[in-house]
């Protein structure tokens, strides 16, 4: 069997909740109410809107007329509004506090971006409008493309992919098209390091490739000798993240590119961590053939429940002819979208989305670029790296950094060696952070580090905010080492819900919604 060897506890230990003291009578907590599902609220007879009775449409529905109530929850407008606002109070968001999820780059979404994205000329438009009526929007796409190409040192970009993994798919499809056009369709293997994002091997497999893992060195980088041994005439591409998921710069990236090209393969770079090097390193100079850029990470557009992503892919000279449509061209008569796979787009491998991509994300990313400028973007990367190194330096006496030698990039990575013999696991530690008012870091990823804790502060945080975070972690670490296991074992103690029994939830899912009987149809 194929096996993921990284273990984590999935069940809370025997509860000692009665020791936790005061509980309210109704399940409320402070001013926070216990929130039922919307289907359990309000019954079925009320409605928040006043609509005329439906006209019977018996004849037009070919016998498919509804003969039972559909059971939509009946709530007045204030009930519906309060339900969702109360749910939002239970959420965590970057607008509430530091959001240290490593690999996710939860940086502040500047309000200026939001204002620009709501301009009527950019928000109230339709993808099927005549291009002559949306020249400004198309020009913005062209300028965004120019910035992305300039920042990466790459000659072409496909804007339309809608997320990082969608960008990976776009890049590999371009690589596959290039190989097939050159009569190299027999290359069926993709190499990816053990520390890769899970989407890398998944994308390669989705494209019909066989994935082979590249080993990692003790200091967390691609093992060059292993890469060289596994390259050959059967390899279509390698997929390497830089900086990698251990928060480290791939020191030998130029040599990785040379070996890959020598073997006739293409170098796909996972650009999820581009925020650590933007303005300082151009992937095109490193020999990268294709790389996606998560606009929602590097260029601050909302994500993680706050909005859709966008994953434009920059392409090298060799792959540019195979870029998916559409793309923007302009001449004296204005801006135009190339939509069809003909003429200059004759070799395009197809398209990644029905229309043109996430316009709202384009506007936000472009606003972020313009408001920072070239020097500001460079400082974004510098501050993100500085913040991560500050956290690493201030916690290394209590916690064990996974790669103590040298600086990290934008993420500080710890393993769980420092928790040995404390009876506290990475999961316990992360849950206890919730009690202290902080969202946990990414845990148990990357898989190559035991009990990994991956912290990414981004450039958003001030020193004062970082110090508050660090102080909370230091207090927790000292408590763990002092044997205060009760503080950790069933944490969080102060959250609206206690720790889930994931095993029980999967084996015996409790489908809580028990509808009250719907009201009969009005006609009956």
């Amino acid at each position: 069997m194929s096996m993921n060897n990284v273990g984590r506890p999935t069940r809370p230990e025997a509860s000692n909740d009665e020791a936790e003291g005061f509980n309210s009578l109704s399940g409320g907590r402070g001013l926070l109410q216990d929130e039922p599902l919307i289907f359990e609220l309000g019954g079925w007879t009320k409605t928040g809107v006043d609509l005329p009775d439906a006209v019977p449409a018996d004849g037009a529905l070919a016998g498919l007329t509804r003969d039972d109530a559909i059971g939509l929850p009946g709530l007045s407008e204030p009930e519906a509004v309060r339900h969702y606002v109360r749910l939002s109070q239970k959420n965590h968001a970057i607008d509430l506090a530091l959001y240290p999820l490593g690999s996710c780059t939860m940086k502040h979404n500047p309000r200026l971006n939001e204002k620009m994205a709501r301009l009527p000329g950019l928000s109230d438009i339709h993808p099927l409008q005549p291009q002559s009526t949306v020249q400004g929007a198309i020009e913005l796409m062209d300028r965004l493309a120019h910035w992305l190409k300039t920042l990466t040192g790459m000659p072409a970009v496909a804007l339309s992919p809608k997320a990082g993994a969608h960008g990976e798919l776009c890049g590999l499809l371009a690589i596959r098209a290039a190989h097939e056009a050159a009569g190299n369709g027999h290359r069926k293997t993709v190499l990816a390091p053990t520390s890769a994002h899970g989407t890398n091997p998944a994308t390669a497999a989705f494209c019909g490739y066989t994935v082979v893992e590249i080993a990692q060195t003790d200091d967390g980088r691609v093992d060059l000798a292993d890469l060289e041994a596994k390259l050959g005439d059967h390899v279509a591409a390698i997929m390497v993240t830089n900086p990698n998921t251990c928060g480290l710069f791939e020191r030998d990236v130029v040599e990785i590119a040379r070996l890959t090209h020598e073997a006739g393969a293409y170098f796909y770079c996972d650009g999820a961590n581009f925020n650590a090097i933007v303005g300082r390193v151009r992937p095109g100079d490193l020999g990268v053939d294709a790389m996606h850029i998560n606009l929602h990470k590097t260029f601050s557009t909302p994500h993680g429940g706050g909005g859709p992503g966008a994953g434009p892919v920059v392409l090298s000279e060799a792959l540019a002819p195979f870029a998916p449509t559409p793309w923007v061209v302009h001449d004296d008569s204005g801006y135009k979208l190339i939509e069809e796979a003909e003429g200059p787009a004759a070799q395009a491998f197809g398209r990644m989305s029905a229309f043109h991509g996430q316009m709202g994300m384009y506007v936000r990313a472009y606003a972020y670029m313009l408001s920072h400028g070239a020097d500001g973007l460079r400082q974004v990367a510098e501050d993100a790296v500085l913040n991560a190194n500050y956290i690493k330096a201030r916690l290394s006496d209590l916690m064990s950094p996974a790669f103590p030698e040298g600086p990290c990039m934008h993420e500080a990575l710890f393993d769980d060696a420092w928790l040995e013999d404390t009876g506290v696991t990475t999961l316990d530690f992360a849950k206890a952070m919730i009690d202290e008012g902080f969202h946990p870091m990414t845990m148990y990823f990357p898989l190559v580090v035991h009990g990994a804790m991956l912290i990414e502060p981004t450039e958003t945080e001030s020193k004062a905010e970082l110090d508050r975070f660090i102080e909370a972690l230091r207090l927790l670490a000292q408590a763990a080492k002092a044997g205060e296991t009760d503080r950790f074992k069933n944490a969080p103690h102060l959250a609206p819900l206690k720790r889930l029994d994931e095993t029980l939830a999967a084996r015996k899912p409790k489908l809580k919604w028990k509808p009250v009987a719907p009201a009969p149809l009005a006609a009956e």
């Binding site: 069997m1 194929s2 096996m3 060897n5 273990g7 984590r8 999935t10 095993t503 999967a506 084996r507």
Partner: protein
């Protein structure tokens, strides 16, 4: 009982091989919450996917350690996947195969060799 490097076990009686995952694999997977066993009559070659086991942390393919035709599948695992954790090398078996190439069994590791292999992980 014979073992593979992918942590499956095989116990042969006559030309019928019972297949499951090892105690080590069950321990590494953590709490098993779902098992998809093959349909009776399915033919598998050695190394092909035979079953799927899902724990709280991951879904994994179980490969056929030997080639053959599925003659019986452990239907009880549908309601009691925890059996795989409780008795992985007995009642937690996945399927019984009618061997099409008995020589494959001899090439697998015996328990001593498997234990030695585990020590290297």
């Amino acid at each position: 009982m014979r073992f593979t490097k992918d942590h499956e076990w095989v116990a042969v009686e006559g030309d019928i091989a019972t297949v499951g995952i090892t105690a080590y694999a069950a321990e590494q997977l953590g709490d098993v919450v779902f098992v998809e066993v093959p349909e009776v009559g399915k033919t598998v070659a050695q190394g092909e996917g035979l079953a799927v086991v899902e724990s709280v942390k991951a879904a994994s393919d179980v490969y056929a350690p030997v080639s053959g035709e599925v003659v019986e599948a452990n239907a009880e695992l549908a309601d009691a996947p925890e059996t795989v954790n409780a008795v992985p090398e007995a009642g937690g078996w996945f399927a019984k195969l009618k061997l099409s190439n008995p020589a494959e069994v001899d090439a697998l590791m015996d328990r001593d060799a498997y234990e030695a292999f585990l020590a290297t992980l």
